[in-house]
């Protein structure tokens, strides 16, 4: 294949010797200009050690095992002895924002090509030495092998020659049968041993001489400012060094630090006590009016009227008014907090006009940009080191806390670690939005579905970046609203305005959480109303196997998660297949023989992965409901690391269960009413289903995402299962509100 345009690969010996292979067109120009700063992805040392750079952040998805596997596979390196180096934040690595379930699908070819170039160069060098045709050589386990003559040579012994070989203009990637790691179910968990022994380094674990700790009293209401404060009682506490005022951010808030007062101390305990002792009064500002109860009423009123049409096919208004019967329902989902187990933390050292940071970030380049903004330092003088992340879920793509650490270090002239408490994390998050949806279906005289209207309103992520934005951007609406296939003659999707009063952010699977909830719950209601099986209803709405066109969707274009529809089509055959697969696994057709449990089904495609879920719920002796068993079938195309993909899907089930059962953030007076895990509840071990069955398709389709797509179908499947068991139709979550769990 021809090398993709983004890739420019170059092998050369450097002072350390060996073979360096990178990507990115800039390398050549910089090298020519004399400043050598390659975006090295792989280095083969003269000692034979293969070093692979992981440019994305590890947060449990296994990226530090998966991305190196792409390179090692093509290179023929022994993955177990590869040294993995975590990249600092630097544009030369391309997009490093570990977000959108995109690490594999965006870099699949480029990283494999880097490995393949190394293989070709090593083989060429060995072939010259052996006087054989390079095409008859291959690599495996860190050796170049010529099987005809049973000769092999270690990378260490041929890499000097290889570094002098002219890099190939194009490389051929391995056929599936030749792959050793890609598609494996047994890739090692790189950081597993360090995690199990407490040695793994997370955001708050970095040690520096003279390191001070900062705990920040943030404005309780977004946009609020300090009216007055008295730091004296805080400064009286042993270990507290100083109290520093942080500048108030200006809307739109983007990734700016929130402002407030930082207590700088010798240790975390002193900083926490100091913060408690601070006396501060605030001007809360306009957002103090934010009240979740009245806000929901407003949102409900909004979607009961006409909204902005974002998707339209046929003549929905006419079809709806001419329908023989109609069905309608409204659904609500509350704000959610990401609540990664590791609250945000960052250590910064600003010294001599340079800044070095160690932090748990999904987005080191954006961290660099935020630091530049708060310190005035040029990005080139800001080094962002990425530690392991104790969970991210989208929270750690937003580096406000990294900016705080850099600002404070600059201010106090010492290294500073900012430690967010759990209360900071839950109260001051970039919250998942809160949504109200209204779905309407029109049926003709024969009970056939002829019209579908779907209205949604939610304060959009757009508001965090554009002050006053009230409608979802194209990319937000494309998550389920614009792209869910509906084989119905008349379809209209509308978006109504909702003004944001808190920072809205993306949380694992983002708007697919609510779109999938509304659509799948309504399909279940339709099935009940029409007295057909929910699976039959779902398949009927998706329609026959085909690639859904923009025209059929009723859209002029869709972002499609950054891919052309030709590359990543809306392929209904694959969607139907996961539904067939999951229902077969769960014994869906025979579920009547299991009267103690209610079964619910849901399907959703997101991030180029189609996922179907069946949930069985059961009544406990206490009368409360429990998720007893879950089946999940996913087709994410070619999956590189099956073991981690499976663990992501297992985790997505528990994550979706938290959404369905327990989690909500509500506001009163603009202040979050939940602040720790007593109020903001998550699933715990006793909630975990007796069994979770995961089936991930094995195929050669283009790779899709696996980190997020498991989440959206879980909550609607649970709610549909509750209906199947109890006959009670629930149109909002969490179920704990209704006392059901």
């Amino acid at each position: 294949m021809t090398l993709s345009r983004r890739v420019f690969l170059k092998g050369l010996g450097v002072s350390a010797g060996g073979l360096l292979i990178g990507g990115g067109g800039k390398v050549w120009a910089q090298a020519a200009a004399g400043s050598f700063d390659p975006n090295v992805f792989v280095h083969i040392g003269t000692d034979g050690v293969v070093t692979i750079v992981c440019h994305r952040s590890e947060m449990g998805q296994g990226v530090r095992s998966t991305l190196p596997a792409l390179i090692a596979d093509e290179l023929g390196a022994d993955l177990a002895s590869v040294r993995v180096v975590q990249a600092i934040g630097d544009k030369k690595y391309g997009d490093q924002n570990t977000d959108g379930s995109s690490s594999v699908r965006r870099r699949f070819d480029e990283l494999r090509e880097a490995g393949a170039v190394g293989r070709v160069m090593l083989c060429t060098a060995a072939a010259r030495r052996w006087q054989v045709d390079a095409k008859t050589c291959t690599t495996e386990g860190g050796f170049v092998v010529h099987s005809q003559s049973k000769r092999r040579i270690a990378f260490a012994d041929i890499v000097r020659d290889a570094a002098r070989v002219k890099p190939p203009a194009k490389v051929e990637l391995k056929a599936p049968a030749q792959r050793r790691y890609i598609g494996s179910s047994t890739l090692p968990l790189l950081d597993g041993p360090d995690i199990a022994t407490g040695k793994a380094i997370f955001g708050a674990d970095v040690k520096l001489p003279g390191l001070l700790t900062a705990v920040i009293l943030h404005p309780p209401v977004v946009g609020g400012t300090l009216a007055s404060y008295d730091a004296t009682p805080a400064l009286a506490i042993r270990g507290v060094r100083q109290v520093v005022e942080l500048p108030a951010p200006q809307p739109p808030y983007k990734f700016q630090p929130l402002g407030g007062l930082a207590v700088i101390a010798d240790n975390t305990w002193a900083a926490l006590r100091g913060r408690k002792a601070l006396v501060a009064t605030w001007n809360h500002g306009d957002n103090a009016a934010y009240d979740s109860t009245s806000y929901r009423e407003q949102q409900t009123a909004t979607i009961r009227g006409n909204c902005t049409v974002v998707r339209s096919r046929g003549r929905t208004a006419d079809a709806m008014s001419g329908a023989a019967s109609r069905l309608e329902a409204e659904y609500f989902m509350p704000h959610l907090s990401h609540a990664p187990m590791e609250p945000p933390a960052a250590t910064a050292h600003v010294k001599d006009g340079k800044c070095e940071v160690w932090t748990c970030t999904q987005n080191p380049q954006e961290s660099q940009a935020v630091i530049a903004a708060v310190t005035g330092l040029p990005p080139a003088d800001i080094t962002v080191n990425v530690t392991l992340l104790g969970g991210g879920f989208g929270r750690k793509s937003k580096p406000d806390y990294v900016g705080e650490a850099a600002f404070l270090s600059q201010k106090v002239g010492a290294p500073v670690r900012v430690q967010w408490t759990r209360e900071d994390d839950i109260r001051h998050d970039y919250f998942h939005t809160t949504s109200v949806q209204r779905l309407e279906a029109g049926l003709d005289g024969e009970g056939k579905l002829v019209a579908w209207r779907h209205r949604t309103t939610f304060p959009p992520i757009a508001s965090t970046f554009t002050e006053g934005a009230t409608l979802g951007r194209e990319g937000e609406l494309a998550q389920g609203y614009a792209d869910f296939p509906l084989d119905i003659a008349n379809v209209q999707v509308e978006n109504g305005p909702s003004k944001a009063h808190v920072r809205i952010g993306w949380l694992r699977s983002v708007n697919n959480i609510h779109s999938a909830f509304g659509i799948n719950c309504f399909i279940d209601e339709l099935a009940a109303a029409r007295k057909v099986d929910p699976k039959t209803q779902l398949l009927e709405i998706l329609g026959a196997p085909r690639n859904v066109t923009l025209e059929e969707l009723g859209m002029e274009k869709i972002p499609n998660y950054g891919h052309p529809l030709e590359d990543y089509p809306l392929d209904v055959a694959r969607m139907r297949k996961v539904i067939e697969r999951v229902t077969a696994m769960a014994g869906w057709e025979a579920r009547a023989q299991d009267p103690d449990r209610g079964y619910g089904l849901a399907f959703h495609k997101s991030f180029q992965c189609q996922t179907a879920v069946v949930v069985a719920v059961k009544k406990q002796p206490s009368g409360k409901l429990k998720v007893d068993e879950v089946w999940l079938a996913a087709d994410a195309g070619l999956v590189v690391n099956h073991e981690r993909a499976q663990s992501q899907m297992e985790g997505a089930v528990l994550f979706g269960m938290s959404i369905a059962m327990y989690s909500e953030v509500t506001f009163k007076g603009g202040i979050a009413e939940q602040s720790n895990f007593d109020g903001y509840r998550l699933t715990r071990m006793p909630d975990a289903p007796r069994a979770i069955h995961i089936d991930i398709a094995k195929n050669e389709e283009r790779p899709g995402g696996v980190g997020e797509p498991g989440v959206p179908p879980v909550a609607p499947a649970i709610v549909n299962a509750v209906f199947a068991l109890t006959g009670k139709r629930v149109r909002e979550v969490p179920l704990s509100r209704a006392g059901l769990v």
Binding site: M59, L189, T197, R422, L654, T683, I692
Partner: protein, 153 residues
Amino acid sequence: MIQLTINGVAHELDVDPEMPLLWVLRDVLGLTGTKYGCGEALCGACTVHLDGHAVRACVTPVRRASAKAVTSIEGLSADGSHPLQKAWTEMGVPQCGFCQAGQLMTAAALLAKNPQPTPTDIDRSLAGNLCRCGAYNRIRAAIQKVAVETKQP
């Protein structure tokens, strides 16, 4: 001065006796394997052993640990060879890994007292340890595996 024995090593520390053991371990002694997750004994990420009992270090004033044997994740085994640690890596239990020190310490205390726990015993013992990644089923399976393997014939 507070006298402490941590992972078999004696320490004498000049710290506020009310300082939670968590911050003594992390900030004073540099033992960062024990994690801060909530500060209110709601998540279990900070679980350590006090004379073999699982406690939440975030709400345990260091004075309470004085004259007792404290074990943190760094001391669960010298070399990662505790059967639970081995099962954790073999079965791919951790995702992000942040909660796992606490999960392991709670599980180790459970098995020390109750080497053959029922699934209900496991659920009850681990109910205080949150895992946002949702590794619960693998945690449960890993504990059961160790219990089966250590069963006396």
